[in-house]
Symmetry: C2
DNA sequence: GCTTGACCTCAAGTTAAGTTGAGCTTGTAG
DNA sequence: CTACAAGCTCAACTTAACTTGAGGTCAAGC
């Protein structure tokens, strides 16, 4: 089959389902990278699709772009990441994910823990007080979900 | 023991762990309510603590204030919500939560589905394409997590 | 009866994650 | 070789969820 062609932004946008402007944005944030043609247009290698897919999935479960960017630092810069590379990455996220999963289950299972417990006295509630390290950090809007 | 005293904002803030400004904000958004003293100061009934606790937990798992507000509509206005009321509420959230939990598990379990699959062709990926109804809706920042 | 720490309101600022638009350049199909 | 869709940059706008600040009011203790 044909050698792996480079992709234009438009093509990546279409195949990944994210807007061109979002791709520009991800690039500015260091989440993806591109080469440029002599005429300064972006050309992406095929594995950008993988990256974008991961970005979207991670976002969907509440991981911020900043965290994703940080995690992506662990990926090899010049080599196309292998399955192993990706697995390392998700392993790094595992603890945060585990915690989030358990929080979700509790909420799903009727909030009963929180309702039955001494929720009134916040410091005793198993739901609330499980990670208040996600506490203050700077001003403005808070991240919706903890790492 | 003493009759259930009403709480001031400061007290609620301290006991719930959220800032006074946030309580004002939640009230403006219709998530909590207060009575006022003759001098126009807020007085909260004790169950506001429960509400705030639920708000925080729900937020932590990615439910937006708007959704929480909507869900709270189902709570009785004048009667203090019973455990049953709260359970109804979380039942209403169950589907969204179930979906989110499964997404999280997939991400946690090595992203392998996504990596092994035809992720490149986005429309086939089990991770990506499981709910793209969370798609476009208005401009500006996107909600981090789907309902 | 006054002082001092809570409160109150309202406007403006902040962060994240993008989108929109203006003005200008590329590249490809006819 | 030219038209025009697709790109490029940069600045400004948007939403959610709060925080900060200014300017003024309450209330509880001494």
């Amino acid at each position: 089959m044909a050698p792996v062609r480079e992709l234009t932004v438009g093509q990546v946008a279409m195949r990944s389902g994210v807007a061109v402007s979002a791709l520009h944005f991800y690039e500015a944030r260091g989440l993806i990278r591109s080469d440029r043609t002599s005429g300064n247009q972006r050309r992406y290698s095929r594995d950008v699709l993988r990256r974008v897919a991961i970005i979207r999935v991670a976002q969907e479960v509440g991981i911020s772009l900043a965290e994703i960017a940080a995690a992506f630092q662990s990926l090899p810069e010049e080599r196309t990441p292998t399955r192993e590379d990706w697995n390392l990455l998700s392993t790094a996220w595992r603890d945060g994910l585990d915690h989030k999963i358990s929080q979700l289950k509790k909420l799903r299972d009727g909030l009963t823990d929180c309702i039955g417990c001494g929720c009134m006295s916040i410091d005793k509630c198993p739901l609330r007080n499980r990670d208040d390290r996600l506490a203050r950090e700077g001003t403005g809007a808070r991240r919706l979900i903890a790492p």
